[in-house]
Amino acid sequence: MSHDKHEHVSNLGRIWKVFAILSVITTFEVAMGIVKPDVLHMNNFLSMNLLNWLFIILTLVKAYYIVWAFMHMEGEKASLRWTVVAPIIFLVLYLLFILLVEADYIYEVFKNATIKWNF
């Protein structure tokens, strides 16, 4: 088979290392979610608190390790990597941008409306 070349290297060490990283991150996230330190929870950046930013960034780090190490994206050709990753990143960012901005607008409309709709 054509792809036998890069596959006979055993990467057991890498697998366990990535497992350790994912576990540590998850434990840290849960601890943060329970403690909710005020420094992070009460301070905002771009109208979202720092704790939520931390969670989202750590989630992306975990996603990177799962895709790159477990799904073995790091061993694929650059063309395949871009084919898979680029459309997702672009479309998700775009979708989040339009939906979240619109949602915030609707929130303002409800909030400033003269009619109370939920009481």
Binding site: K5, W16, E29, G33, F70, I88, D104
Partner: protein, 343 residues
């Protein structure tokens, strides 16, 4: 990496057939493209969840108040421990999957079978855990009351500041109401099971228990403007937690009650915003369905491994392909975990 050396690889011939331009076999490439489209589906769901959450940002339920159960620990507040455990189970089953793929590269049939088996067990434990999580969510714990205007009232104890269950204060009135079933209705009329208490019983119980207060859905903001509001109990309400009303205002709000809500269904739930339960059921359900189908596919491949199909083929690439799907399911859970339980 020069993985594709099947033909003399000149520029014009790259896409001319008999070649693997992206360095992956047809099957693997199609699995990647399926994953891309499935990832976009999940992104659509999670973005829609984000939309509704931003739209009701001031009244959305706080996840660490909703998911507080842990097996064999009754009445103990254990926010997120259980989902954390579920996350570990899924990550670990991802590890065993990747170990199976690794063993496949060495054509080690026994090892592949063993790790595939562990992966299947992990998947089954995860699906089971999710069922238990749903059971608690559907059953509910404290109960709440819905007003005529559609907002939700929950109850707290003024001395401890903790939530009170309906059963702890609701009165028992000598009244009876039968459930409307299909057999009693005139034209396809029926209703779901009746709540344990009627609105009148909750209202009566509220009158006889002076330290019960109403907690509304709005998240309390500890600033000067909020402090002026005389309807709010400022000692019981905490910043970034739900607002607790004064005794007088609680009584006024409760007069407007018209439904007792216990647990959750697709129409209403005792946790807050009606959409919250809908999204919870839909997104975790769709993910759970992926895990379930992943387990089924893993079982099929497991039997193929046992039967020696891939041994004869001298290639365990099928294990690699289901591995991709399995890791994807894990990947989705990482995001669901963040956006439903942490954020």
């Amino acid at each position: 990496m020069g993985a594709t050396v099947t033909t003399a690889n000149t520029g014009e011939k790259t896409w001319g057939g008999g070649n693997e331009p992206l360095g992956a076999s047809y099957g693997k490439l199609m699995m990647w493209f399926f994953i891309v489209s499935d990832a976009l589906t999940f992104s659509g769901f999670l973005a829609a969840y984000g939309f509704s959450r931003f739209k009701f940002i001031e009244t959305w339920p706080l996840p660490d108040e909703v998911f507080t159960h842990f097996p064999f620990m009754h009445g103990v507040e254990a926010p997120m421990y259980y989902v954390a455990l579920m996350t570990f189970i899924l990550i670990f089953s991802s590890v065993t999957m990747v170990l199976a793929v690794d063993a496949g590269h060495h054509l080690n049939k026994a090892k592949v079978a063993f790790y595939m088996f562990l992966t299947i067990i992990g998947g089954l434990i995860f699906v089971g855990s999710q069922a238990w999580e749903w059971k608690n969510f559907i059953k509910g714990e404290y109960g709440a009351v819905e007003t005529k205007g559609g907002s939700l009232l929950q109850f707290v104890d003024a001395t401890t500041g903790k939530r009170v269950k309906l059963e702890d204060f609701a009165a028992k009135l000598p009244e009876e109401r039968t459930q409307l079933t299909r057999s009693q209705g005139k034209w396809f009329m029926e209703e779901s099971s009746l709540p344990t208490y009627s609105v009148a019983e909750v209202q009566e119980g509220f009158k006889t228990h002076p330290n019960v207060r109403v907690r509304i859905e709005t998240i309390y903001k500890d600033d000067a403007a909020a402090k002026k509001d005389t309807k709010v109990d400022h000692t019981l309400s905490h910043h970034k937690h739900k607002t607790v009303l004064t005794r007088e205002e609680s009584a006024l709000r409760l007069e407007n009650a018209h439904l007792v809500v216990e647990g959750a269904n697709l129409t209403r739930n005792e946790y807050g915003s009606k959409l919250f339960a809908d999204f919870f059921f839909f997104i975790t359900g769709f993910h759970g369905f992926h895990v379930f189908s992943g387990v089924i596919i893993n079982i099929i491949i497991f039997f193929n491994v046992i039967l020696g199909t891939y041994e004869k083929r001298k290639s365990y690439e099928m294990v690699e392909k289901v591995g991709l799907y399995w890791h994807f399911v894990d990947l989705v859970w990482v995001f669901v975990f963040t956006f439903f339980y942490l954020v």
